[in-house]
């Protein structure tokens, strides 16, 4: 089976089955359009630890049918158990995986990454918990006066 070589930003080289890695539209296009077969494809934005997670995702979904042209709207937690397990990551690692999925153009992985972040936001009881969970720096907090004002307005809106 033909393979594709990838080199991560920390100089680790991977050799992956074409069938597997072609779930990445970026790699697929590079290989087929640019006829890059033998030379390793550099991934300057992706570390090996991130790529490991990406590969786990690709293996889970290697037999999936091609994704539909129009994304299907799903509930935030509507994903298979393997994906849920895969996404049990620290937030900074999850951000790297999402960025990698975006860069490599793997729509399915990008989708479950974004949905997982949204799910975590939805679990927060209030804005204090959001700040804490996502480590939002103090300089980005609204002042107490602003919050009081906003709450007043929101009460009117949500009435």
């Amino acid at each position: 089976m033909a393979s594709v070589k990838l080199t991560t930003s920390d100089d680790k080289e991977y050799t992956l089955d074409r069938e597997l890695i072609f779930q990445s539209n970026l790699i697929k296009n590079m290989v087929t359009d640019l006829d890059v077969f033998d030379a390793p494809i550099p991934l300057p934005n992706v570390t090996s630890s991130t790529l490991d997670i990406v590969i786990k995702y690709l293996k889970i979904h290697k037999d999936d049918p091609p994704p539909p042209d129009k994304p299907i709207e799903k509930a935030v937690d509507d994903m298979i158990d393997e994906d849920k397990e895969l996404m049990k990551l620290e937030f900074n690692i999850m951000a790297d995986v999402i960025l990698a999925a975006n860069y490599l153009d793997i729509p399915g992985l990008l989708d479950i990454g974004c949905r997982t972040v949204a799910w975590h936001i939805k679990q927060c009881k209030d804005y204090h918990e959001i700040r804490e969970k996502f480590n939002i720096p103090k300089e980005l907090w609204r002042s107490e006066e602003e919050i009081a004002e906003m709450k007043k307005e929101l009460n009117g809106i949500l009435g």
């Binding site: 951000a95 927060c124 804005y127 980005l140 949500l158």
Partner: protein
């Protein structure tokens, strides 16, 4: 972490959140609210961008019976969002715009990012101080504008007039506001440019007494323009103006002529109008809230006989001037009549002619002593829709209507109280109990009356025995108990649309329970006024209805 993600990915994340989550996130971070709200709602609803503020309004389609596209509709019909500097990249992500109302300054700033399919209402207000460079706005952006509103007087409003010919899809232009005399030229420019340089079919001029000085210009342009709707309201228009416009009617394409709220027109103006009306294509004539006298109505009624007018508005504070109209009603083509004024002396002639008239719809304030007779005659008429205005003797009127409701061919009925009159507690049970499956009535609006608490359950229990698909009711005394009792009745009824007004005293859990037990497959829309729900309750409702709810719920 999430702050490090690029905008487009952040937007993807936020797309999985509900509108109800957004305010809470906005409190956590200085700029999320703008990003989140705008993206979330832009994709799915009507958007109003005004000045430096966004008003995002979810579609409220009471009349348009289509199911709502998303759960966003569940929790509110309006959110307001402060505009952030992050808006521009955000707008790039918008792809499902439908209708947008936008301030001129913002339009000029964002025009590059607006999707092809958008239809635009452009608002230029007197508050707009920044100088807008309209030359820099692309032709394709200008082509999106279908409705131009110039409110008050501003430099930007004047400047955009030079660009009207680039708005090739312009349909309607509205000029609202009292112009100073030295600004008269602006009004001239509006008229000239709209009628000469665009395909606009509607011109609305409000609160501009200086329009009187533009009569000749307007008249000279009308015949060669595409104008079909001319509205000149609250402008103190003089007889000379009416005379000048009337002369153009035979050569114009005007179908709607609206001179509402102009008490300055006298018999001279009405005579001129009456003379030309039969030679015109006008189908809708609005002379409401003007000072008509019997002679004016006489001459207009005569003219209406030979005209194509089918929709007439003649409500006014003056009593009994409409007798000549009523006497002649059977000779007129009028199908829609708004005469929501009390006038007992004229009513007899109305009653006598209603069975022979072509009326299909009427707004009327009829005296309680004449109501019985009116309804008897209405039964023999072509009337399908009546909106009763009742300021006094409300209970008595409802009881009389109840005795006739079974026999009338009406499909739509509404009972309201007059302007400025406080709503009265009314027993409406008899009205509902007289409806059967044989009664053609499908829409009943009782939102203008207060329903007694003890009647609520009884009223709703009647619904399965009626053909009602739309029901509006006002019950401030409704509690959880009544709400629980409604469910079986609604499930068995033909209802599609239900409005419960009056800030009922129902709890959040009862509302959630109510919605989760509704399984009427016909049901499309529920509006509850003034019901306050917690975030959790709103979430529960969203969960019950799912992402593509079969019906929508709006809390106003």
């Amino acid at each position: 972490m999430i702050l490090l993600l690029p905008y487009d990915i952040q937007l993807k994340v936020f797309n999985y959140l509900d509108v109800i989550d957004l305010p809470f996130i906005s409190l956590a971070n200085k700029y999320y609210y703008d990003l989140l709200s705008a993206y979330r709602v832009f994709g799915r609803s009507n958007v109003f961008l005004m000045g430096n503020r966004l008003d995002l309004q979810l579609a409220e389609d009471w009349d348009n019976y289509r199911p709502a596209p998303t759960e966003s509709h569940l929790v509110r019909d309006k959110i307001k969002v402060q505009l952030a500097s992050q808006l521009e990249p955000l707008v790039k992500g918008i792809y499902k715009f439908q209708d947008v109302a936008i301030g001129g300054e913002l339009f000029a700033k964002l025009h590059k990012y607006l999707p092809q399919s958008v239809r635009m209402e452009l608002n230029i207000t007197c508050k707009s101080k920044a100088r807008i460079n309209w030359d820099a706005v692309s032709d394709s952006a200008m082509e999106k504008i279908t409705y131009l509103k110039l409110i008050g007087q501003s430099r930007n409003g004047t400047n955009i007039l030079k660009h009207l010919n680039r708005m090739t899809n312009l349909k309607d232009v509205l000029v609202d506001g009292v112009l100073e005399s030295h600004d008269l030229k602006t009004l001239w420019d509006v008229i000239f440019n709209v009628l000469r340089n665009t395909q606009a079919t509607a011109l609305e001029i409000l609160n501009n007494p200086h329009i009187n000085q533009c009569a000749q210009l307007l008249a000279s342009m009308i015949p060669s323009s595409n104008l079909q709707d001319l509205t000149v309201c609250c402008c103190d228009i003089e007889d000379e103006f009416v005379q000048t416009i009337a002369k153009t009617l035979p050569d114009s394409k005007l179908k709607i002529l609206n001179f509402q709220d102009n008490e300055t027109i006298t018999d001279i103006g009405y005579t001129a109008l009456a003379e030309m009306l039969p030679k015109s294509k006008v189908k809708t004539l609005n002379l409401a809230s003007n000072t008509l006298i019997v002679e004016d109505v006489e001459i207009l009624s005569e003219a209406l006989q030979h005209s194509q007018v089918t929709e007439l508005y003649m409500s006014s504070d003056y009593d009994d001037v409409l007798s000549p109209l009523y006497e002649n009603l059977h000779n007129l083509k009028i199908q829609w009549l708004d005469i929501s004024i009390p006038g007992t002396a004229s009513e007899e002639s109305l009653i006598n002619s209603i069975a022979q008239s072509h009326l299909e719809s009427i707004d009327i304030d009829i005296d309680v002593d004449n109501l019985d007779e009116f309804l008897k005659e209405a039964t023999k008429s072509k009337l399908q829709e009546i909106r009763f205005i009742a300021s006094v003797d409300v209970q008595e009127r409802v009881d009389i209507i109840a005795t006739h409701i079974k026999d009338t061919p009406l499909k739509k009925l509404g009972i309201y109280q007059g302007c400025g009159v406080e709503k009265t507690l009314v027993d409406c049970f008899s009205l509902l109990s007289n409806l059967t499956k044989e009664t053609p009535l499908t829409e009943l609006d009782l939102s203008g009356l207060i329903v007694k608490r003890e009647d609520i359950t009884l009223i709703f229990l009647q619904l399965p025995f009626t053909n009602l698909t739309l029901f509006k009711i006002y019950c401030p005394e409704m509690t959880d108990k009544e709400l629980d009792n409604l469910i079986p009745a609604i499930n068995l009824s033909s209802l599609k649309y239900l409005l419960i007004g009056g800030r009922p005293k129902v709890s959040g859990p009862a509302v959630v329970r109510f919605i989760s037990r509704l399984n009427n497959r016909m049901f499309r829309k529920l509006i509850m006024e003034g019901v306050i729900l917690t975030k959790e309750e709103k979430r529960s409702i969203r969960k019950v209805l799912g992402d593509y709810p079969k019906f929508t719920v709006t809390f106003t």
